[in-house]
Structures are given as structure tokens and as C-alpha cells.
Symmetry: C2
Subunit: 332 residues, 2 copies
Amino acid sequence: MTVTIYDVAREANVSMATVSRVVNGNQNVKPATRKKVLEVIERLEYRPNAVARGLASKKTTTVGVIIPDISNNIYAEAARGIEDIATMYRYNIILANSDQNEEKELILLDTMLGKQVDGIVMMSDAVTPKLHQSMDHSPVPIVLAGSVDESNTFASVNIDYFQATKDAVQMLIDNGHKRIAFVSGPLSYTINSHYKLEAYKTVLNEANIEVDEQLIIADDGTYDSALEAFEALAKIENPPTAFFAGSDELAIGLIHGAQDNGKKVPEDIEIISFENSKLARMVRPQLTSVVLPLYDIGAVAMRLLTKLMNKESIEDHSVIIPHRIEKRNSVK
Amino acid sequence: MTVTIYDVAREANVSMATVSRVVNGNQNVKPATRKKVLEVIERLEYRPNAVARGLASKKTTTVGVIIPDISNNIYAEAARGIEDIATMYRYNIILANSDQNEEKELILLDTMLGKQVDGIVMMSDAVTPKLHQSMDHSPVPIVLAGSVDESNTFASVNIDYFQATKDAVQMLIDNGHKRIAFVSGPLSYTINSHYKLEAYKTVLNEANIEVDEQLIIADDGTYDSALEAFEALAKIENPPTAFFAGSDELAIGLIHGAQDNGKKVPEDIEIISFENSKLARMVRPQLTSVVLPLYDIGAVAMRLLTKLMNKESIEDHSVIIPHRIEKRNSVK
DNA sequence: ATGAAAGCGCTAACAA
DNA sequence: TTGTTAGCGCTTTCAT
């Protein structure tokens, strides 16, 4: 019932090899033959079976994409970058959510390798030893997107989170603040948050400002948690006058928290965010934010993967995309 | 170099058929044999080749998911619902963005069918004749998620957009408004927006309120467009006192637009949204909104698809999920 | 309970 | 330029 390459060959009075050649754009086919075959393909509505092709050629033209959570805008943005470039290079993507759960990541890796993907793009906060080992055993290239591999074993695409955070906090320090709070999601599995915290502490130290653990809040990363964080910090002795927020959502929570407490941003409280999603402009005042180019990170990661799959030589397999700060109105 | 079922069979002194049986959980294997095979599988780190399996069994345990844009929260939420249920039933998903572009949709459908997916979940605003025809020709089941199929040919999962919008606008009418604006994205390709517009007109008519085309704005659906829409509508003679917004993003733009014009929400201007994403709570006042259960729509669609792929009988292939309005503070 | 063998639909030498 | 043929790694009758 389904039309196979054999049916086309018979109808066109050629061998399957010839049909295969025209389907695959091989030039060694006489134009007349090609035309004839193409006509039969059209008439029979022949559609090559990619599974059979994959088995025979050992290439599936599909890549696996493992991300924490597609419903989180951060990852969705990156996923779009990945998919766009994948499409550009004629790959399809198998997308799966890991929820930053090592066990799921391991299973997903295995499943995808079982499906014979040609490569994998992975976003994960923690490349644990087990994960590292599984990735090492992969028969196909893997590139990390938005995740730093400290062992420098795997290809990866990132911005310099450490420096970017330093820049952001420095901006606050330059505006005269001594009491600067750090608000993020869970340090254990909010992507790259520990680099941010390190940078925060480092830059404070460099400015001879004491690091006060009270000012470091790592809750669940939600809007509400930021609202509560502001509330709680407003009550302490010598409360913060400026905030570094790990994401736009947190920054908005902080702004609303400040406003609920009768504080004006940026007059009384200055807030800098780290993300710059479209949310950054959907709040008053609009957020000054480190721009985290998620789409680009995804796109570059996928592009890098295509090179790796193609066995092209790579200059540097750990690429750092430049970052910048978009100045709006939450910082003077 | 790669371990195949044949290697396992040889090492375990059984036939490949037996190995296949234990891998697939077939009960017709003596426990001792099973144990022996399992040991060899572990020792050799054998991983079944899903492509070969797919070719032989004609099942790939992967489904195609065609959505407009994964970086749009609406679709990302639905995608997560789809993926979660897919995972639950041991399917993987091939995810692709169509940008609501008919040509891309057609190509994607073809590509996925070529990859022998076992089924497809599709989100598309307009099931055009061509698309309809291609879908009709599909050898595997397709279910529409969040997209109404007026011909009732395909399985689909939706809420009652018409009734939901009527409920929302009615709420504004009940609060005494006569000048109610309708703000949405492009009517031609914002999902289900034409149902919303019809409902808006219908309920206005029912309340003997004249439909004023001036009050109907269908721009690009962005925050900025809503800001501008408010601005523009504030200047007309007899400006609107209430707004129906097609999405949370638009509603937030409207709120900010109102505030920029010195109006208070909900005292001076009432606004009701249609989406209820997490954004609905991230603005002051928080949005009263029709809840569009995207995750559920995706999840139910995928569940429905599993039944269809399994050739189970379906009660009704057009499922309507109940809707409700979440009351917050943008409406009195 | 187990094995033998015939495909699944295609690619890729190798020949011609 | 075209055809022949041997797999790719697995599932699935059909025997035994």
C-alpha cells in the first residue's frame, strides 16, 4: 500500500539505484532519466522512508535536544534558536524536557542515542560526573548550550556569566550602593547561578564592601519569591538599596515589592536584571538588564553541532558570545 | 564497533530472536535464559537500534509536533503538556515551528511523515484547504490542539473560545460599560481570534450595544501595539471605558497605556484578558482573565493521539475542555 | 521455549 | 550513466 523506491523503479523502468540517485540529487543521472523518474515519483506520490534511509546510511538527520523545561521562556528562546538553525541545515529535532533531573537526563541521552540521532544539544545546569561519563561515551557529538563545562571536554556555547554579573553589580556599586542584595533561583539548579554568586562576591570584595549573607537570597526563582524577598529584606537592619536579580521575573517581583513598600525605583531602590527577555520592557520602570542572548546561544550551539557532525575542524570548541547591558530605567 | 543484537545473541548462546524477545519483554522466555541474555546486554552495553526496530516493526514511537512558535509562551506551555504525556506513553517528539506559515506546515507534515512518525499533534490557526487535504492523506492519526476544525474531520482539543469570550465581554457589560474595545493580534493568524471577535460582536448585539469598528483593533499582538492602541483609543470621541484583550501581553500593554494616560485600572478603565499565563499576576493590578488551559490542551491532545495510534475507539474526537474566568483586579 | 529465515526500504560499493 | 547486490539491525512469522 505504501509506495516504495522499488515501485518507482519498476514504473520508471530503471533500477532502485537510479531512483535513489535522483532522490538524493546525485549528478550521475541522465537528465532524461531524471525527468522520467521525477514524474513517476510525483504520480505515485512517493515519499522516501527516512527510517530505511537512516538504517542504510547510518544518518538520521535528526538531532536530540535536551533542555530543562520548554515552558520556561529562557529555554524556549534557546530552543527556537536551535530549531531554526537545525532547519536551515535540514535537521529535525527531538525535543525533551529533563527538569534538570540527572536521572532523566541520563535516560534521555540513552533514548536519543538509541534513536540514532546524529548529534545532541544539551542544556543542563550541572554536568554531573555520571552525566559527564555518559556524554563521553556518546558515539555522536554533543554540544552544551548555556552550560559551562569546567573540564572543557565538551563543545559549549555561553556568555561569560562571571564577567557579566561583575559588570552588572559594578554598575550598582558605581552608583554608590553599599548594600546590594543578590536574588536568584535555587543555586543548585538554576542555570549558572553559582557563577553569578561568585561574581557578586568577588566584585563586592574588590570594592571593599562586606558580603552580607543576609542579602543573598536563593529561593525558587518565582515572581512571588522575589516579592517576598523584598518584603523580608526591607525589614532587616540596614536594608539593601540595590538588587541584582538573576532573571527578569525576579526583577519584576522586586520592583513590585519595592512599590508595595512605598519605594520608588530607581530613585529609592535600584534593580538590575540578568536576562533581558521581552518581559524587561513590560514593567514600569523598564528593566536595566544584562542581555542573555538565548536565541543566539541556541543557534550558535546548533551551528557548532553541524560542524562537529560534519567532522569539520573547529577552531575553539568552547565559544563565548559577547554580552552587554541594556540600560533602561530600573537603574539610574 | 557498535554492539548489535547479533553480538548479544552470540555471546549469550541464543538466537537473535530470543534476544529480541527479552528486549521487548516477551513472556515466552525461560527465566534462566532471560537472565543470561540480560547479563550479556549489560556487559556489552547493548543499546537497541531504534531505527532498525522502526523499519522492521513499522513503529517509531515518535510523534510529530507542529506548532507556530515555541518561543511564544502560549505554544511552549502546550508543548510541555504534549511532551509530558508523550513521555508517559513512551513516545518522543519531533518538534518544529511553522510560524503559522501554510507552506512550512505542508513541508513539515511531509517531512514528519517521511520520518515515519506514529502520529502528529498540530497547532495551527488556519486549517486551509491545502493543509486539510494533506492531513487527510496522512497515513497516521493527527490531532489538532487549540485549533478548531470546522469540518469536524480531525480530532481536536479546545475550549469554547466563542462562549469564553462572550463570558468575558458580558462581565464588562454587566459592570455597566457601553464602550468596550476589542484588542487582539492579527485576525488572520492569531489563534482563534476570529471566534473571539465574533463572540464580541454577538454579545454586544445581544446587549443592544452598537458595534463600533473603531473599537476593534487587531495589530501585531505585541505589548507595544497595545500601548499604542490605548493611546489611539484614548483620543477618539467617546473613548472606551473597558477592554477585552486577546492575550495577557496585550492586557499588560493596555494597563500601562491607561496608567500612562493618568487612568486608573479598574476604577477608570476595566480590562479583561484571555490567557491567564503567569504574566497575569506579574502586573499591577493583576489581570482578570479567561483561563486558557494550554498545558491541558496539549496534554489531552497527546492523550487522544495515543488512543488513536492504538486504534482504540474514541467517544468523541472533538473534545472541549471547560473554561472559567479567574477574577483578579483589572475588573471590578 | 527457542531458532531459522524472510523481510522492512533504503544506501553504497562494485560492476558493467 | 546505470544496474546488481549485499547489507543496515531489527521484528516477526513459522517451525520445531
